[in-house]
Subunit: 203 residues, 2 copies
């Protein structure tokens, strides 16, 4: 699914989606200007972003809110169920396993992996924790294409290699390391500490 959308526009789609969903049921129509004002951005930008999702509005009235939500959800693939695995059942990993927010994007974390034999065999938030060694089998078994990497920086690259080997196509990495992976595998990073530090340095 190669998309003709700048990644920066893509990143704004969930923001629109959350906002549109938060609107009262009664609001049938919404204009790009209203969205822009609520989110603090330019209205042309909003229209351009929305245009990528194949949604369209009516001059004078705006967009039908329900249609717009459906178009964004469709574009983001919320209706295509995707399985994910999580590696690293520490504090963050456990919290993500318990987090229900992935489902609105059609994503479910189905299995977790950890190197700690004390955790292996248990289940967290109803999801089985398996041994790192089972990663390849596990990924194949559950048909996961996505992985969340929540292990310490020191083991992140090794786990990444295993995930790639197992056939994972997208990795969301929480370890503060630049992972090396083939071009065919998409890696994105979230570094919470760095994000807070950046925020602090803007004050």
């Amino acid at each position: 699914m190669i998309k003709d959308i700048p990644e920066i526009s893509l990143q704004r789609l969930p923001v629109y989606l959350n906002y549109l969903k938060s609107l009262p049921e009664g609001d049938k129509y919404i204009s790009s200007g209203a969205i822009a004002a609520a989110l603090g951005m330019g209205e042309v930008l909003v229209r351009k972003d929305l245009a990528y999702t194949n949604s369209s509005g009516r001059p004078k009235v705006g967009y039908v809110r329900a249609q717009l939500i459906a178009a964004i959800e469709d574009y983001l693939g919320c209706n295509q169920k995707k399985n994910a695995v999580l590696v690293g059942v520490g504090g963050l990993g456990s919290a993500l396993l318990a987090y229900g927010g992935f489902s609105k994007y059609g994503i479910e974390i189905v299995e977790a992996f950890d190197s700690d034999s004390k955790k292996v065999g248990t289940s967290v938030a109803g999801k089985p924790v398996r041994a790192d060694e089972d990663l390849c089998d596990g990924v194949a078994g559950c048909g996961a294409v996505l992985a969340i990497l929540a292990v310490p920086a020191s083991s992140a690259q090794a786990v990444c290699d295993s995930l790639v080997q197992a056939g994972i196509k997208g990795i969301l990495n929480f370890a503060p390391v630049q992972l090396k992976a083939p071009e065919s595998v998409v890696v994105r990073n979230i570094d919470v500490a760095a994000s807070l530090a950046i925020l602090a340095s803007l004050l």
Copy 2:
């Protein structure tokens, strides 16, 4: 501390920092080309970014690794101790309270707040959990300028208002809502589910 650096360059500084720190002690010098190759970016970009930190290299040899680390740390304010509070001691909040990664940026989470009276009075990862009502006093008492918002979307705006009232200047928001705050308060968002959805839609 108004910085003459594009935020996008600022965001790359922690990446350089992590990489430089990961290098073996023996490596005294490092060139922009080597950094660029390791991180998969252009070498001119690396030099431009590094130039913002007031570091400088020597033609032919490169940068002194230790100096570069010090310059980036200094620029990011890692040497100025900053206190943060965390609101919402759920799974994610607890994980962040236990996470040690903030200290390398000079940030410490000193107190937590939660609306659940069962949690109030306990401590998580050695940090006291207080009632939401104590937020204003707590922030004043510990001199925090930063806050991590890890409450459900439904209460995020109300907590944000309290944080602003309490004098917090920067908020890292994990709830999938666009917070309204005065211009003088910097808000940045991390939406893990949206990040994974975006990643998925790039596959």
